[in-house]
């Protein structure tokens, strides 16, 4: 394999990994605050369709991306009201959010199927972008890819190095104690849920504006769920989310290239199963491996909280 085609494959891996990275980072923060939002897939679709629709109608990708984040956050606000204010079951509400998001995005997007869009521009740095191998790998991406990497570092820094991050983790580990020393558990969780929604929206916008620049119903094809699995895989650490996302991006691209190369006689559908089967395998290895018991799941994950006074 020539260096040139290896670089091309690497670029597609980065592109496939980025939506997973955005969505999983957002969900990681949500889960660190003690909330389980299973609506990632629905929020991603809301982001994908609104990012696409706004970009096509206004011609501004920046506005499209902002609207995608806002759409994801808006759906997560619905989730927040139901689970945080009204103390509804988080699993059921998350599922409802996904079903609603699939339907709503199909409804909004019905006029945008098959419409072309200008993909996000690559940010070329004069001089260095033309370097062989390093140039395209490090300096030839669109803004969202850089943002996803920055967000990984940002989330890691926020959770471990800032006061806000400590409070968020305290709320997720022991809501009663955090409440009794005066932190507003509900408000912290609302902020986390909104952040998660916005990140899912960005993940969707990246899907419809860069990864596959188009809109199609249910175009996320389970990536929201894979992102949820990645959070478990990472044992709630941002650095490992990055690793996991690129690993899964790699699996996705591997099967695409295998299909392109004639599939070694394996039907295309069987190769397409790989990312899903890999998710199950990874979840099992994580749960059964020697490190089990040190997974660090937030202690209050999924438990509803109502202040007693």
């Amino acid at each position: 394999m020539s260096a040139e085609s290896a670089v091309l494959i690497m670029l597609t891996v980065i592109s496939a990994a980025t939506p997973l990275l955005f969505a999983a980072l957002g969900e990681l923060v949500v889960e660190k605050s003690g909330v389980l939002n299973l609506g990632v897939e629905g929020m991603m679709l809301a982001g994908a369709v609104s990012g696409f629709a706004v970009t096509v109608t206004t011609g501004s990708a920046v506005l499209g991306i902002l609207c995608a984040a806002a759409a994801g956050a808006l759906l997560s606000l619905v989730f927040g009201i139901l689970t945080l204010t009204l103390a509804a079951n988080q699993v059921a509400t998350g599922l409802a959010l996904t079903i609603f998001g699939i339907g709503l995005s199909a409804l909004v997007g019905s006029g945008f199927v098959g419409v072309p869009v200008v993909p996000l521009p690559k940010l070329a740095v004069p001089g260095v972008s033309d370097l062989p191998v390093i140039g395209p790998l490090l300096f030839g991406h669109d803004a969202l890819i850089y943002l996803s990497i920055l967000a990984t570092a940002g989330v890691g820094w926020f959770l471990t190095r800032t006061r806000g991050g400590m409070i968020l983790r305290a709320v997720g580990e022991s809501d009663e104690s955090a409440h009794s020393i005066g932190f507003s558990v509900i408000r912290v969780r609302y902020l986390a849920v909104l952040f998660g929604g916005a990140m899912s929206g960005l993940a969707g916008a990246f899907m419809s504006l860069s990864h596959t620049p188009m809109w199609a119903e249910e175009m996320t094809a389970g990536r929201g769920w894979i992102a949820l699995a990645l959070v478990v895989f990472s044992s709630w650490r941002p650095g490992r989310v990055l690793l996991g996302a690129y690993l899964f991006g790699g699996v996705t691209i591997l099967q695409l290239h295998a299909q392109g190369a004639g599939g070694l006689g394996i039907p295309a559908q069987v190769l397409s199963m790989l990312p899903y089967l890999a998710t199950i395998a990874v979840l099992t290895i994580i749960a059964a491996g020697p490190w089990r018991g040190r997974l660090d799941a937030p202690a209050c994950l999924g438990k509803p909280f109502r202040p007693s006074t």
């Binding site: 139901l82 079951n89 059921a92 609603f100 199909a106 389970g222 699995a229 199963m273 998710t279 099992t284």
Partner: protein, 362 residues
């Protein structure tokens, strides 16, 4: 207490659940969904009254419409009843769509193996294969959950994508109709592999009656047997279940195998009933919608019969409104999502009460 300035609302947990509201809240949720639909249709530039009429009322005005309602309700009820048993025990099988597909594949293979053969045993054999196919597929998350403590939500969902792709592999490959002009579909099943029609001139098949029988059987199981009791305790008080020595793993297996089996049987009825062959897409999301049906029916088998009918209306209403007033089919999904949102929101009133409290020292 009359409202005065300086007073505020306070939310308190009820000492006991408000039983009346427990059964009223699904009705409230349906009403709120209809109201939202009214606003939504108006915002989309349709006459809301006309659109709602074609969505919710006109499909029920003909015998054929009612029979179609039952055809759509049958799989929803069967799957919903099975899922509800698991949800009661905090076992979250959300991969019923995949188990349905797997059941349909197993039953379809039987139907095609005995293609053009006479025999009253073909259909029962298909049902057995279908139920077994669904159970076998649900056994994967059950095994991973009980053996390695892997979250069943994610595994059962991932397997749904795998099942759909597997069905695609089969109908594009080995099971493709040799005389089908290369279309991705199997041969049409022959007479002995098709469900008998209950009402002449409609598609209402015998499976709808079986769905009702399943609902009643599960109600008996959950209400009058020790297994039903153990499942309910496992969900409501896991610590008590452990103290009482209930076999947690066995109950998890029971819940997943039961819901998988019913989903597989529902898939069998779809291909042996309205569809009559294997095609790449055999379900309009019944496996996912059944989750809403289960909650709307209060996780109670008989309630699920009612909610299955209500949610089935959203399918045929969606189709009808598309034909009559040109509403996009996606409205169905939006309505189903809204319905569950409103249900979860109104359930708040079952557990909490909102009280007016006077201001301290005005």
């Amino acid at each position: 207490m009359p409202f005065r300035p300086g007073m505020s609302f306070r939310i308190e947990q009820r000492r006991e659940m408000f039983r009346g509201l427990l059964y009223l809240s699904p009705v409230l949720a349906v009403a709120m969904t209809v109201l939202t639909g009214f606003v939504l249709f108006a915002a989309m530039g349709h006459d809301p009254v006309l659109a709602l009429y074609h969505f919710g009322i006109s499909p029920l005005l003909s015998l054929y419409g009612v029979s179609e309602l039952l055809v759509k309700a049958a799989p929803l009820i069967m799957i919903g009843v099975g899922l509800a048993v698991g949800f009661r025990a905090n076992v979250w099988n959300i991969g019923a769509e995949g188990q349905l597909t797997c059941g349909a594949i197993a039953a379809g293979v039987v139907a095609l193996a005995f293609w053009e053969q006479e025999g009253v045993w073909v259909l029962p054999l298909m049902c057995l294969a279908g139920a077994f196919g669904g159970m076998a597929y649900a056994a994967i998350p059950a095994f991973l959950k009980t053996r390695f403590d892997v979250n069943e939500i994610l595994t059962s969902l991932m397997l749904t994508y795998v099942a759909t792709l597997f069905l695609g592999t089969l109908v594009y490959g080995p099971l493709k109709d040799p005389a089908g002009f290369n279309f991705p579909q199997s041969r049409m099943f022959t007479e002995s592999a098709l469900l008998p029609i209950v009402l002449a001139g409609t598609r209402l098949h015998f499976g709808a009656i079986i769905a009702l029988m399943i609902a009643v059987a599960v109600w008996v199981l959950m209400t009058f047997t020790i297994i039903g009791f153990q499942i309910r305790v496992l969900g409501q008080a896991p610590a008590a279940a452990r103290y009482a020595g209930f076999h947690r793993k066995r109950l998890i297996w029971t819940c997943l195998l039961m819901s998988g089996g019913f989903a597989g049987l529902a898939g069998t009825f779809e291909i042996a009933g309205p569809i009559g062959q294997l095609i790449p897409s055999i379900t309009p999301g019944y496996g996912f919608t059944a989750i809403i049906v289960a909650f709307l029916g209060r996780l109670h088998p008989l309630g699920i019969v009612l909610s299955g009918l209500v949610v089935a209306l959203s399918y045929i209403g969606g189709e009808n409104a598309q034909v009559e007033v040109g509403l996009p089919q996606a409205v169905t999904g939006v309505f189903q999502g809204l319905l569950l949102f409103f249900l979860l929101a109104s359930d708040f009133l079952v557990r909490y009460r909102i009280r007016l409290v006077g201001a301290v020292a005005g």
